[in-house]
Amino acid sequence: MDTPVEISEYSVEPKVQQLISFIRERELPEQKDKMSSFLGYWYPVYGESPEHEVPLVYDAFKKLHNRLEIEGVSNPKFIDLGAGQGIVGDIASAVAFESFNIELDPDKTAAGVEYTGPWRI
């Protein structure tokens, strides 16, 4: 398999900062507990916190969205499989999708946790 090439670094837009605040404001107590449990595992994946991770995910999906539209895919649909655990990564990806036409499909297979996250408005 060919080695993929990194094509960009992420950028942080003012809107993303708003989204991070949105997450922080709506963290539920049980989510904070979960996040503490997962700190050593989860955060190193994309960054160290929502402040790191949200811009990464947001920017990546914006790039993919733009790419697909350039390729002629009108209003592309995004599906996040596993966005049901109420922890940072999935919240981040969920929020990252907000400006797009997105379907969220939380994974109770992996987590078994009923999620009542911030994007359910």
Binding site: P4, V5, Y41, F78, G82, V95, E98, L104, T109, G112
Partner: protein, 157 residues
């Protein structure tokens, strides 16, 4: 502040496996247990904590009951995310694996249900993803340039 437009995101509870892929994944998991009775498969680290599933307990009855409960319904079916052609109605499919069946069923399922030309996005720095790529060689997918620590694969036509 209401930054998420109502209706732009839909939340669908349920498993992300279709029943046939769940069944096959579970079979493969227990074959793994038989061959590796003292070694746990890579679960992504989250399953045990989140679902109460004790990964040190590989007894078939215990694990399968909990997995069956977690996979009682498929979000893909319940959410009408499978088209009449049997393919997933998504242009971009993202998954952060945290699933004990990921290495046994996920890639196979995606290879069979993603529509040609759609993109599969997986975290780059994730041991389950690394193992799956090594196992499946992502046959049926063409690697794309990575974006922000995410691996991107295009489903081949």
């Amino acid at each position: 502040m209401n930054v998420i437009p109502k209706g732009s995101v839909r939340h669908q509870a349920g498993s992300y496996y279709l029943p046939e892929f769940y069944k096959e994944g579970k079979n493969r998991l227990f074959k793994y247990y038989k061959i590796n009775p003292t070694t746990q498969p890579n679960s992504g680290g989250l399953l045990a904590v989140a679902s109460g599933l004790d990964l040190q307990d590989s007894r078939y009855e215990t694990v399968t009951a909990k997995l069956d409960a977690l996979n009682r319904t498929s979000a893909l079916i319940e959410g009408h995310l499978i088209g009449s052609d049997g393919l997933l109605l998504g242009d971009v499919v993202y998954c952060y694996p945290s699933d004990i069946l990921f290495g046994f069923a996920f890639i196979d399922q995606m290879r069979k249900i993603m529509k040609p030309g759609s993109l599969l996005v997986l975290p780059k720095e994730n041991s389950q993803v690394a193992e799956a790529i090594k196992t499946y060689q992502m046959e049926g997918f063409t690697p794309q340039p990575t974006i922000n620590k995410m691996l991107v694969f295009k489903k081949e036509i």
